[in-house]
């Protein structure tokens, strides 16, 4: 498959009063068209910031993209100016946000907002746009879509708002949809519905999806590929099967270990990763995970491990001891 998105050495910094927050450090990866990529990591690991960097929606000041290239469709997005970016946003890359409660403007009807998004990039009349907005709401599974167009966001439930947001994101049939923790604020049943919906939509429309989440369980059902991020860097990436079956990075092992499993016997305590993520203002010299890692050796404290491919299937790990960890036969 041909790559739709290629990120090279992306660095994003926030210049705050307390120092420079190194939010994204040298992130590089490629996405193919039609691929579903899961970006996983705990809060503050740079997942959302790297996505916002792609859209150039980092608040500046204090944020700044200091280095890198983001190739999308033969163009480096970072060299585009605001006018050109406005054409890319929504039409080529769309984004769905975490909190459906605040991502719709409370003073306009849902229909108005979808119609507005439609009219921005499509050459159609208001009536056609209204028609299409109804179809979109129908597509995302809102019952009585045509009537609900005239509702205000507060008349929608959380799940419905997120569906409306997805409809808005899909309105211009983007080739890449970035979903920034779209199910985090929803309860589990709604979460499952949204995941099914996104799967179905991806089958029908065939766009690439970047699904940002902190929940490995969610992407397990959905993604083809997974990037695990920690302290602004990708520490493990690979096909979903490899990540779950041949986990090589201690952090990913820890993340998987902290998930409840159906085959756990009752009463088993969940394993948590000890310690806290490092301060992004003062990142340690070596591996950012070293302080919390059970496999730590002296080299980890002094040298940052590079992301190296470990098999022929694009499974890469940034750990000095991945071979030994592989040898230990971790789950």
């Amino acid at each position: 498959m041909n790559p739709i998105l290629e990120i090279k050495n992306l660095k994003t910094r926030f210049y705050t009063q307390d120092g420079v927050v190194k939010a994204v450090n040298d992130v590089s990866y490629t996405m193919s068209s039609g691929e579903i990529l899961g970006v996983v990591g705990e809060s503050g690991c740079g997942k959302s910031v790297h996505a916002l960097s792609m859209m150039q929606l980092i608040p500046d000041p204090p944020g700044k993209i200091t280095n890198g290239e983001i190739w999308f469709d033969g163009r480096d997005l970072l060299t585009l100016n605001e006018d050109q970016m406005q054409k890319v946003r929504g039409r080529d890359i769309a984004m769905i946000f975490q909190d459906p409660m605040t991502s719709l403007n409370p003073v306009f009807t849902v229909g108005f907002q979808i119609v507005e998004a439609l009219l921005l990039h499509n050459d159609m009349t208001k009536e056609e746009a209204k028609e299409r907005a109804g179809d979109l709401l129908n597509l995302v599974g809102i019952p009585g879509a045509k009537q609900r167009l005239n509702d205000y966001p507060h008349q929608f439930s959380g799940g419905m708002r997120q569906r409306a947001m997805i409809a808005m994101g899909l309105s211009c049939e983007p080739r890449l949809l970035i979903a920034d923790e779209p199910t985090t604020a929803l309860d589990v049943t709604i979460q499952a519905q949204i995941i099914d919906l996104v799967k179905k939509l991806q089958d029908e429309l065939g766009m690439a999806i970047m699904w940002i989440t902190h929940d490995l369980g969610v992407v397990a059902e959905l993604a083809h590929t997974i990037n695990v991020m920690y302290a602004g860097s990708i520490i493990e990436t690979g096909k979903i099967r490899n990540i779950y079956k041949q986990t090589r990075h201690p952090y990913t092992i820890g993340l998987l270990g902290s998930l409840p499993r159906l085959d756990d016997s009752p009463g088993t305590e969940l394993v948590s990763i000890p310690g806290l993520p490092p301060d992004l203002v003062a990142l340690p010299k070596g591996c950012p995970f070293a302080a919390r890692c059970g496999y730590r050796i002296d080299q980890c404290l002094t040298e940052k491990p590079p992301l190296v491919e470990i098999d022929g299937e694009n499974h890469s790990v940034a750990c000095w001891r991945w071979e030994e960890i592989a040898g230990m036969g971790s789950k």
């Binding site: 859209m55 150039q56 929606l57 608040p59 500046d60 000041p61 100016n81 605001e82 006018d83 406005q86 054409k87 890319v88 946003r89 929504g90 039409r91 769309a94 984004m95 946000f97 975490q98 909190d99 605040t102 991502s103 719709l104 403007n105 409370p106 003073v107 306009f108 507005e116 998004a117 921005l120 990039h121 947001m165 808005m168 994101g169 309105s171 211009c172």
Partner: protein
Amino acid sequence: MVLFVSSATLSHYFWKYEPKKDLDYSLKLKAPNLTVTEEIPSIHLFGTDKLGRDIFRRVVHGGWNSLRVGIVAVGISLFFGGAVGLMSGFYETVTMTMIERLVLFGATGFLLGFLSAWIANQYFQLVLYTGLGLAAGYYQDLFKGKFLRMVVFGILGAFFSAVPGLFISPTVALICGLWGLFTGVLLSRPLDGKFFSNVMMRLMDIVLSFPGYLLAIAIVAFLGPGLGKGMIAIGVVGIPVYARLTRSVVLAIIHKEYILAAQSVGESHGRIIFRHVTPNILSPIIVQTTMGLASAILSAAALGFLGLGAIPPEPEWGAMLGESYRYLTSGAWWAVLFPGLAIMLSVLGFNLLGDGLRDALDPKLRT
């Protein structure tokens, strides 16, 4: 409130009053009377003033002027203050598009060019300065981040204003050249983002640092007295209040996700500002506007009292007070009481309206 607004409006349209004709020295300073007597052939509900004019009529008609001053002055403050606040709040963290950059840099060049053009008395220099600004805005990546950029634009600026200055005199050329150098260096810097919003707000702070009435009086002294100029003066004084208020509420909602969502579907800045930002910040501004009406009326009265508002025969509450307070000691209480009461009641009314609106519009108080 209703009584005030309707009496002011209705009297203006349906009860013609010509202040210049309303003179009767024989009736000067009469106390309020409710019956016609031989001595006073007409009813004067509020008495008469020193020129024998009916105070009731003047109070009612003065209401129209007060209302007008209030609305126009608040309109001026709201329009300019709102624009400054919106822009400085919005563009603080949002990257400008090319057109917005061009407008900003061009306008900066144009405004800075005034000094040089004025010194050399060559107003075509404005074109050069504006052009320099536009160029700096357009070629934003030329020698970006390098000292060379500052040098290039500085020299260009100095050249553009010194050469025409040479036709006047070497001194003029020197001063204009230095100013051009300064302008060029400034234009070579990134003026958008935080810098822009800081400059806007510091300008507002400068206005705010003058005592309000003093500034209003200074503006009136500069423009000359008259109701219209009083409106401008009061309006200008009020601009920073609205700018600060607007900016603060813009900053409060700019990081809401629906603004981010609007950006992420590719909406233009104008649309975001007018469709998404403005409607969501209206309620505190509406409240402030009603309160502002009251203080504008009060300011107008103060200016009138000092003889800087309406030009004399025109009825205006403050001016009526100013004309009559001297007669208070000789027992003519009515000439001062009624205009004063009118000011007080209308200000109180607008303040209560503002309070009421705040209660009605504040979602925290709504259940």
